[in-house]
Amino acid sequence: MNASDSLPRFDFQLFVAGDATNSAQALANLRAMCQQYAANRYEIEVVDVFVDPERALAGSVFMTPTLIKRAPPPVRRVVGTLADTQRMLDVLGLRALRA
């Protein structure tokens, strides 16, 4: 079954503030959703603004945690803990692609 070949791959970039509470939560929620809805088809890059503040600036990220969905298009930007899973699925386009 090569269904996964035709399915898109997700590329997320999550800006965090170390392991501050919200950042940590956001990361955890993102992971859970990916695992559930896009297993083996996702990539999460975590950028710590304490460590790489320039990147945050470059990406015009002014708040943490901020999630950027870089792929598949469209690019989306979400700030917050990503706790509202249902809404997130829609926003991130994960729902329709449950495998």
Binding site: S60, F62, T64, G80
Partner: protein, 933 residues
């Protein structure tokens, strides 16, 4: 509150205001972001951490840090760039090695570097080093620093690892200092090293070669011994492929490896022969055992090889020694049972070859007289070329010792060991030995009472066969052989003693009687008699008592010697008792011989003076005689009879006695007769009587002179009684001469007195005739008488003449040439050869009385006489008939024309005076004085 100068008081108000602003800002942001945001930033990148996140981060960070730090087993301190301890973990708080580097008791706020710098005492060096390293990390010179140090307590050895790593945040903002107790790790490492070292020692110590190989046949480990065996170092070999180190290995060697690896089962006991670096051949026994990794797979094989060359050699040696001991014990068993020297030697050699597996064993006896080694026995497989290496050994004196190991062994009086025949100059015939497969040999001298009496030689098929252990064994064997020879010699001496009298060396009773038996048998065959004489030395005991036993023994030895010399045969003498000897007299043709020997023996013994202790002794002895075959026919009985005779001699007081009384008497008589006869001639006891011989007409033509002896005791004795004695004693010559002289003298007297004389016929004994001087003697006698030859006739018996014809003819011829007449007496009783008869220079034949007697008894008798007369006449010989007793015979004889007759009819033999008166007076009247022919 008062602050440092850094904050002037005026600013304090502004600070408070700003804080209030910040606080309000923060609250507002919190609201704007629904509490889900941690940080915000402006387009310039200025980040502001919202309050909750701040708190969280602050706490969280610290907590995380602390828990991380506390979880670590190490003691950790965070220090800032100045060295001040900013935070520590729990372990640090309790940490103390006693070394300053661990900054015991130093807590947050202390300056670690300063503590280290100030360190004194035993840990000072470490502390300084630590400080130096930390500083390097802090100022960026080093990326990190670590070192190990030891800090031992009295009870324990401890090691520590100290590290310093920078706290970097773009630039070094501090460092993490860590001390970790690595004692356990160090101890383990030490233990491991120790074990490894022990293992190596053990592995190198083992008397074996060991390889650890992996499944690809690479040598992982090798011990020293194995490395030495190929002449390389351990380091050189470990890690290399096996084929590289052992290029010559056979294919099946690797097949073995493969088998072990594949099957996981060990292969043990592989035997092979290799050459070591020195080129010597070695025997190797190998075991190949797989070893397994933790998963149970075969990880490789352990190969263990042992050089069993020595143990093999030892085995061979032991087997050989065992063989040697077996030979020793078998030969010893042999020695106990064997009493024959030749058999002993042969058996000993055979045992040495069969049990001892020697190629050859031989024994030679040393003959010191001829200086040679005489082969006595040999056994073996090697060729005949070596059969008697002993034979060619000639041993000369010390100036030129003989060749060969045997001679050397005798000279040197010790074993000659040649362990490499091919290379030793002492071996002769080296080629022959090689042919026979003999590569080593030994010759041992055999001693008896300190002299080398024999040599014992052994050949072996291996070089260096005769090592120390073997030689010990062989020397023991030679000793045993020497003992056996001595023992047999002693036994032989004992058996000598069984037969010989030790003191005199004469045969003892047992041996003497044995010999006597043999002599009797041979005498019986020849028809001779033997006399056995037992001699008792009288008063020997008194000599013993007065002079002592030594003198007595010496006397006995002298008597023994004298007897042996006297009989000219030591084997005819024996000693049967302390003072009794026994002899066998030479075989006697006649009893007279025996008597004579005895007489001589007794007389000589009586006369013999034995020198003893400066004086001379004459020994009286008594003799007991027994005769074979008269008294007994076997030695034992003969001896007993002699004993009995001795007793009777002792009883009667005589010097000697025969067993048979008659013998004694007759011999005594005979002996006395002999003595008397010896004196008879001197005493003029002999006398001639004459018996007339008549012609056919009755005229006295001649007379036969017959000798008579006037025995003073018994009176006139006829010749039959004494002639034989005269002959035996040799007196016959003197008496015979006397008779001739007398007859010639009587005749001469008649001629001188011009009375009628007749020729006198004198009997001649064979002994006289045999005497070469006889003819000359007769001539001498005749020379002293003018008319001697005319009056002399010699009567010689027929048998005597025929016994030696040629001599007789010559003598007779010479006698006749002198004018003496010769008559053949007792004709017809001898064994005449008629041819010779014709040649004999004789004048007449006297027919024996037996024929005259038979003449009238039968026609043959008459014919015989008639024939004899005719024969005589035809040979121109006169005939005289003897023993005419009656007229009948007389008339017959006249008829037969016998020339002369003699006998009792005509007259007996009478003394001269009577003869003259009876026959010559009458003749004077009726006859001329001219003698008849």
């Amino acid at each position: 509150m008062s602050h440092s100068d850094a904050v002037p008081p005026a600013a304090e108000t502004e600070i408070s205001a700003l804080i209030a602003t910040l606080h309000a800002t923060g609250q507002r942001l919190q609201q704007l972001t629904s509490g889900e945001v941690d940080t915000v930033a402006d387009q310039y990148g200025h980040t502001f951490v919202l309050r909750e996140a701040q708190v969280h981060l602050r706490h969280h960070e610290a907590a995380k840090q602390a828990s991380i730090l506390n979880a670590l087993p190490a003691s950790i301190a965070l220090i800032d760039t100045r060295g001040v301890i900013v935070s520590v973990n729990e372990a640090w708080k309790h940490f103390s090695t006693g070394s300053a580097a661990s900054a015991p008791g130093a807590g947050v706020g202390s300056n670690y570097l300063e503590i280290c710098d100030r360190a004194e005492g035993s840990g000072a060096a470490e502390a300084l080093r630590a400080a130096r390293g930390v500083r390097a990390v802090l100022d960026g010179t080093e990326k990190s620093f670590s070192f190990q140090y030891a800090c031992h307590s009295p009870t324990r050895q401890r090691w520590f690892l100290m590290t310093a790593t920078p706290l970097a945040d773009g630039h070094t903002s501090g460092a993490v200092v860590m001390h970790l107790d690595i004692t356990e790790r160090v101890e383990i490492a030490h233990a491991l090293d120790q074990q490894r070292a022990e293992l190596r020692v053990l592995v190198d110590l083992l008397p074996a070669m060991i390889w650890f190989k992996d499944t690809a046949n690479r040598i992982l480990r090798i011990n020293q011994r194995a490395a030495d065996a190929v002449g390389r170092t351990v380091a050189d070999i470990e890690g290399r492929p096996c084929a590289e180190i052992y290029p010559g290995e056979a294919a099946d060697y690797y097949a073995d490896d493969r088998l072990v690896i594949d099957s996981g089962a060990a292969k043990r006991g592989i035997i092979e022969t290799i050459r070591d670096p020195a080129g010597n051949s070695r025997c190797i026994q190998t075991d190949k055992v797989p070893y397994f990794n933790p998963d149970g797979q075969v990880a490789g094989i352990v190969v263990l090889s042992q050089d069993i060359t020595e143990s093999r050699l030892a085995e061979v040696r032991i087997r050989r020694l065992n063989r040697g001991y077996l030979v020793l014990s078998q030969i010893n068993a042999l020695i106990v049972g064997e009493s024959d020297r030749a058999r002993l030697f042969h058996e000993a050699c055979r045992i040495a070859v069969e049990t001892g597996e020697f190629r050859r064993a031989w024994i030679g006896l040393v003959d010191h007289a001829t200086l040679t080694i005489v082969p006595a026995a040999s056994a073996g497989r090697s060729s005949d070329g070596l059969q008697w290496a002993g034979e060619s050994l000639l041993q000369r004196d010390d100036a030129a010792p003989g060749h060969g190991p045997g001679a050397l062994a005798v000279h040197a009086r010790q074993a000659i060991i040649i362990n490499d025949v091919a290379g030793d100059p002492r071996t002769q015939n080296a080629g022959k030995y090689a042919e026979a497969g003999v590569r080593a040999l030994v010759v041992l001298p055999v001693f008896v009472a300190g002299d080398v009496v024999a040599v014992f030689g052994l050949h072996a098929g291996d070089v260096d066969y005769f090592d120390a252990a073997e030689m010990d064994l062989l020397r023991e064997l030679a000793n045993d052989i020497g003992f056996a020879i001595d023992h047999i010699g002693k036994a032989e001496r004992l058996s000598y003693l069984a037969y010989y009298d030790a003191l005199t060396g004469l045969a003892n009773r047992t041996l003497f009687l044995e010999r006597a038996g043999q002599r009797l048998r041979s005498a019986a065959g020849a028809g001779h008699g033997v006399a056995l004489v037992l001699i008792d030395l009288e008063r020997f005991k008194s000599i013993n008592d007065s002079l002592g036993q030594t003198a007595g023994n010496e006397l006995l030895r002298q008597v023994a010697t004298w007897l042996s010399a006297s009989l000219q045969d030591a084997t005819a003498v024996g000693r049967v008792d302390a003072d009794h000897f026994v002899v066998m007299l030479p075989e006697a043709d006649s009893p007279g011989d025996t008597a004579r020997y005895l007489q001589k023996l007794i007389a000589d013994f009586h006369d013999q003076a034995f020198p003893l202790e400066g004086a001379v002794f004459r020994i009286a002895a008594r003799f007991g005689v027994a005769l074979f075959p008269d008294d007994a026919t076997d030695a034992e009985n003969l001896f007993r009879k002699a004993e009995s005779a001795l007793k009777s001699a002792q009883a009667s007081g005589s010097r000697h006695a025969f067993y048979t009384q008659q013998m004694t008497a007759s011999v005594a008589r005979r002996l006395s007769l002999e003595n008397q006869l010896r004196q008879a001639l001197d005493n003029d006891e002999f006398v001639l009587h004459y018996q007339p011989k008549m012609s056919a007409e009755g005229r006295v033509t001649s007379a036969e002179a017959l000798i008579r002896w006037n025995d003073p005791r018994t009176g006139l004795t006829l010749p039959g009684q004494f002639i034989s004695i005269l002959e035996e004693t040799g007196l016959i010559h003197d008496v015979g001469r006397w008779a001739l002289r007398q007859a010639i003298s009587d005749y001469q007297r008649w001629r001188d007195a011009a009375t009628p004389a007749v020729r006198l016929a004198v009997n001649v004994s064979p002994l006289q005739l045999r005497n070469p001087d006889f003819v000359d003697e007769v001539r001498q006698l005749l020379n002293s008488s003018r008319n001697g030859a005319e009056g002399l006739e010699l009567e010689i018996t027929e048998g005597m003449i025929m016994a030696d014809i040629d001599h007789s003819i010559a003598s007779l011829q010479a006698l006749r040439d002198m004018g003496v007449r010769v008559a053949i007496d007792d004709f017809g009783t001898g064994f005449s050869s008629l041819a010779y008869l014709a040649r004999l220079p004789v004048d007449s034949l006297k027919i024996d009385r037996s024929f005259i007697n038979d003449m009238t008894q039968s026609p043959q008798g008459l014919v015989l006489v008639s024939t004899m007369i005719t024969l005589a006449h035809s040979l121109s010989l006169k005939v005289v008939a003897e023993g005419v007793e009656n007229p009948e015979q007389s008339s017959l004889l006249r008829l037969l024309r016998c020339d002369e007759v003699q006998g009792n009819l005509y007259g007996e033999a009478v003394p001269r005076a009577i003869f003259e008166a009876t026959y010559l007076a009458g003749a004077q009247q009726s006859a001329t004085s001219v003698p008849t022919t």
